[in-house]
């Protein structure tokens, strides 16, 4: 029997390269005649470039050229180009200069004179909404999409909206988005307890370990680009679209990616600078992005200024949820974190009635993008302590109140369009998590004091989208008898490029050592794939590889039946052979089957392809045709409903009441993500995501000077992602492991939900240690906690942004 490949720990194939340093990331590549580019970034949060004088720079020895916004393909607003003549945030790239070495390029940048005309700027959405408040963009401060039109708008609320809001309470003018399920007022009338709070959540940069460096060159009209990206197939497509090229004319190499967290889903605009620049210069161009630049061009999670009102019946059931979110949008694009936040809240608590209102406002701050559990992670971290507050007031256990509100099955609803789910076992995740954490005993510790340390325990329930479907699988069994699994997804350190490949190996009964995953280089014939984001990959590509493997299996069986008699269904596979069920010795090796497939041609070796696969897969399969027995298919397994995974976090903290210091003593994450594909990588996600959540809940944020619109959290040590000493010694996990019945493999994605679980478990535990006092803001830094403990003025008002 071939080894078991699903549900066991197997080191990914890139492990050795990574730990030995042989893995090559984008900035490790060199090419003949390569030059280095450096960026000139805007010192102002909003300005117009009046004049660029680069004569001195261009006259420097070793400088080879300059790239400005005039040299690139323009992008329609509110989209973002890689260079601009109207920077909309401090740090936005204006031009690049290339030189034979990086130091010369940097020195040349210093010699450029850019005459900038400062323009009005807005950092705080609420300030921009005030009458007379500045708009972040010359066109307005928000973008409205309706059925009839889409356009910018300068949205201002009447002064009375602000005057009528008591200090520390969110002013709520006319929203841009609004939906209602049921009748919230009736819900509140029904409630035994009503909780109402203003909430805030600060923006924070993604800060993956690897900054987004890129090297690009052109050969025979083709663009070769080495970049740091989460997805491969989809990034190739994105680059082709943005550079007006045919898909075939872009070769993307991105075997390794040092993290993205949503900031490099299909790369990011800045990767196009070397692409345009190398085309202009006719030489390879490398542009390494440093940590400082990464803070600016590296994307960030939008901040929220929010308000909620929740009603609960005496048994803890949520009768109504009213939510208002003002989202800090940054200067570009269309970000929907606030909408995701609302639908995540609706899914988590299944309120009997709900209203959501939201406004998203452009600001002159670095651009936003999805960040691990966008919207969802932030909202559960904000709302979970309030659920505790209700539980306390009602005398309901905090686990019980979550059980009663969490959806019982897949008949749950979510968001304005009230979709059901493919499957859902969150209540089991809560239960087994509570058991393993020993909630019954731990909750007794709540509020206990030892010296100056007060204990708090907390829970965070965090759902997030866990998959997509409809992508292609592409595998080849070659005459060497090995299985080659082509993966168009990326490798950002999650193992999923290998874990999802094992599904094909398992179906074909192969040992892992006889399989090779091909990934990270679009010249290697990759299939059309999902973006490596939104926790889609595990679900999408277990299915796609399943489909391709089933196709290959059928072909193996057909060849065997053809050569050895009987019908295809008489044959099965194992250990690299296809043989008769009744008689193991009557069969063919895969090597032989591959040879036969090549002889047979047609659909066996990829000369004939299914009609429903994506053009990209057609191209790749055509390139591989004739090399062996090909399995190629689109995931047509279908399915009904939203695909959602869950993690329930349990945390115990100690808060020092004299210093505000919080020590996280233990953490457990309990997951409902379908079949466990790879326990060790699941643990890495549950823990890693939680740690990122700890950072969001405790220390990570932006700090910007309001007078100059300048950011200070532009280094690791000022941005403060958590360090290893901020992680509890005891970290544990558990998973429900119930397959998703709508997927042949039964696995759902797990990238996002751990973040919200980690963050919410801590905000809930801290509130518990403070005797139920909810500070309603993230991050909950030491000063905020201490000021509350000491009854002193908070360092910042709850509605202050970027502080």
């Amino acid at each position: 029997m071939a080894e078991q490949l699903i549900g066991v720990d197997i080191a990914p194939p890139d492990l050795v390269a990574k730990v030995t340093g042989r893995a090559k990331y984008a900035e490790d590549f060199r090419a003949e005649g390569m030059v280095f580019a450096k960026l000139l970034i805007s010192p102002m949060p909003h300005a117009r470039v009046r004049r660029i004088d680069a004569r001195r720079a261009l006259a420097m020895e070793g400088v080879v050229g300059i790239l400005t916004a005039d040299d690139i393909t323009p992008v329609d607003a509110p989209g973002e180009a890689c260079l601009t003549m109207e920077p909309l945030y401090q740090g936005e790239p204006i031009l690049a200069i290339a030189a034979v070495d990086e130091t010369t390029a940097a020195n040349a940048i210093e010699a450029v004179n850019v005459d900038l005309q400062p323009l009005p700027f807005a950092l705080d959405p609420l300030q921009s909404l005030r009458p007379g408040g500045a708009d972040a963009r010359t066109e307005g401060n928000t973008y409205v999409r309706t059925q009839e039109s889409r356009d910018f708008q300068s949205l201002k609320w009447p002064r009375s909206v602000f005057d009528d809001a008591p200090p520390g309470t969110l002013p709520m003018g006319e929203p841009q988005t609004e939906w209602t399920i049921g009748d919230v007022d009736a819900g509140f009338a029904d409630a035994a307890v009503v909780i109402e709070e203003t909430l805030s959540h600060q923006s924070l940069t993604h800060h993956p370990m690897e900054p987004r460096s890129t090297m690009a060159y052109w050969q025979n009209g083709k663009l070769y680009i080495h970049t740091s990206t989460q997805s491969v197939a989809r990034t190739q497509a994105a680059i082709a679209a943005q550079m007006d090229l045919e898909l075939d004319d872009v070769v993307l190499i991105g075997e390794y990616c040092g993290g993205g967290f949503g900031s490099k889903i299909t790369g990011s605009p800045i990767m196009l600078v070397p692409a345009f620049f190398s085309r202009k210069l006719g030489r390879p161009v490398m542009m390494r992005i440093n940590r400082y630049e990464e803070h600016y061009v590296g994307r960030a999670r939008p901040g929220f200024q929010a308000w909620t009102k929740m009603g609960f019946r005496s048994d803890g059931r949520m009768t109504a949820l009213d939510l208002y979110i003002v989202q800090d949008h940054g200067p570009y694009g269309l970000s929907g974190d606030h909408n995701s936040a609302a639908s995540t809240a609706s899914l988590t608590y299944q309120p009997e009635n709900m209203r959501f209102r939201g406004v998203t406002v452009y600001t002159n701050t670095p651009p936003r993008a999805a960040q691990r559990a966008p919207g969802g992670g932030a909202i559960v971290a904000m709302l979970e302590p309030l659920i505790d507050k209700a539980a306390r007031e009602l005398g309901v256990d905090r686990v019980d109140i979550r059980m009663i509100n969490a959806p019982a099955d897949n008949e749950a609803w979510m968001g304005a369009n009230q979709r059901p789910l493919t499957s859902n076992f969150v209540r089991r995740a809560i239960r087994i998590g509570a058991d393993q954490f020993d909630w019954a005993a731990k909750r007794q510790l709540s509020g206990q004091r030892q010296g100056t340390k007060a204990t708090g325990v907390g829970i965070g329930v965090s759902p997030y989208s866990g998959g997509s479907s409809g992508f292609d699988g592409l595998i080849v069994i070659r005459p060497d008898g090995r299985l080659y699994i082509h993966q168009g997804i990326g490798n950002l350190g999650t193992h999923s490029f290998a874990d999802t490949a094992r599904v094909a190996a398992e179906i074909l009964g192969m040992n892992w050592r006889d399989c090779q995953v091909i990934w990270g280089d679009t010249s290697q014939h990759l299939p059309w794939s999902s973006v490596q984001a939104g926790s889609q990959t595990t679900h999408a590509h277990t299915r796609a590889n399943h489909a391709a493997a089933m196709d290959a299996l059928a072909k193996l069986q057909q060849i065997a039946a053809m050569d050895l008699g009987g019908s295809p269904s008489d044959y099965m596979v194992d250990e690299g052979r296809v043989f008769r069920r009744a008689n193991r010795s009557r069969g063919l090796s895969f090597a032989r089957a591959a040879e036969r497939a090549i002889e047979l041609g047609g659909r066996f070796d990829g000369h004939e392809l299914p009609e429903d696969i994506h053009v990209m897969t057609v191209g790749s399969a055509t390139g591989l045709a004739g090399q062996g027995l090909m399995g190629v298919a689109k995931d047509n397994y279908g399915g009904e409903g939203a695909i959602q995974s869950w993690v329930v976090g349990f945390a115990r903290v100690e808060v020092d009441v004299e210093t505000g210091h919080v020590e996280l003593k233990e953490y457990l994450g309990s997951a409902d993500c379908g079949v466990v594909l790879h326990p060790r990588s699941l643990a890495a996600q549950i823990h890693g995501g939680a740690i990122q959540g700890f950072g969001m809940a405790r220390s990570q944020k932006w700090v910007m000077d309001p007078k100059w619109g300048a950011g200070f959290a532009n280094r690791f040590y000022t941005a403060r992602p958590p360090g290893i000493l901020d992680v509890p010694l005891e970290m544990d996990w558990v998973a429900v492991g119930e397959p998703d019945p709508q997927s042949p493999v039964g696995a759902r994605g797990i990238g996002e939900p751990p973040l919200g679980a980690g963050a919410a478990a801590i905000t809930s535990a801290i509130a518990d240690a403070l005797g139920g006092q909810c500070l309603c803001r993230t991050p909950l830094t030491t000063d905020v906690i201490l000021a509350a403990l000491e009854g002193r003025e908070q360092p910042f008002s709850i509605l202050d942004a970027h502080v």
């Binding site: 010192p43 102002m44 900038l116 400062p118 000077d705 007078k707 100059w708 300048a710």
Partner: protein, 295 residues
Amino acid sequence: MDFWRRAPNPWSQDVLLGVSWDLMWAAAIAGVAFIVAHALWSKVRAGPGEDGGGAPGSPGSGAGASGLAARVLRHSLTSRLFHWVMAASMLVLLVTAFFPVLGLRFDWVSVHWIAGVVLLATIVFHVVHSTVVRNWRTIWIDGSDVREGTAELKHFITGQGHPPGKTGKYATANKAFHHAAVVVGLGAIVTGVLMMFRIDTVFWAANPYILGDGMWGVVYVVHGLCGVALITMTAAHVYFAVRPDKWWLTRSMIKGWITREEYLTHHDPQKWAPEVGEGATGASAGSAADPAAVA
């Protein structure tokens, strides 16, 4: 030598920070050079054994000398107090401003601004006092001063023309110095008061943003220019105060009076009719304030 200190502001715009401290040295050198040149030239003009200040006339040559006491009140106690308080605060201001630049480190800021406030107060007093109580015109340059002054200067430098004649209460040079002091002092004070908005004082909390960067640069440059000018002017002033031929004036600033002889030697009673007294104190000097006495 640099004239300005400039730096990029947070938006990388090149802005003025203030004058270069090279100017401090330039001012000091200019002061010393002036003193040396003046002293030497005075010697040369006067010939051996004599000081060059020269007496403009002899006692008794003027009219209205009769009825004068032995001592003529030149500076009332109030005026003297004003002068010395102002001088002290000015000295403190200069020391607190420039010694730290020279490398002598101490907590200078509070002393500096407090001295500045004292100076401002004395000046306000002085302005009120000299316009309401005294006659401000005695120190104001008029047409004849200009003529006289040019002639004197010409005489001093070339030896031609006539030597300085008898003057009103203040000689043209005094008046010129005072005018310069008014301009430079006001410049320093107005900018100094503005600069106080940048630090926490008893009056208000710091706010560096009441003016824009560019404007602040101008404020600092004006303050700096006035400051260094005051180095030169103070040097020159002290020099004249200690010159033997001006000692009678310095004494009057200490004790209040000049002798009858000095009065008659240096002043034209037509232009300045002092009140009569024994080195008197606190004179309201009503008669001196009579414009007719000056005219």
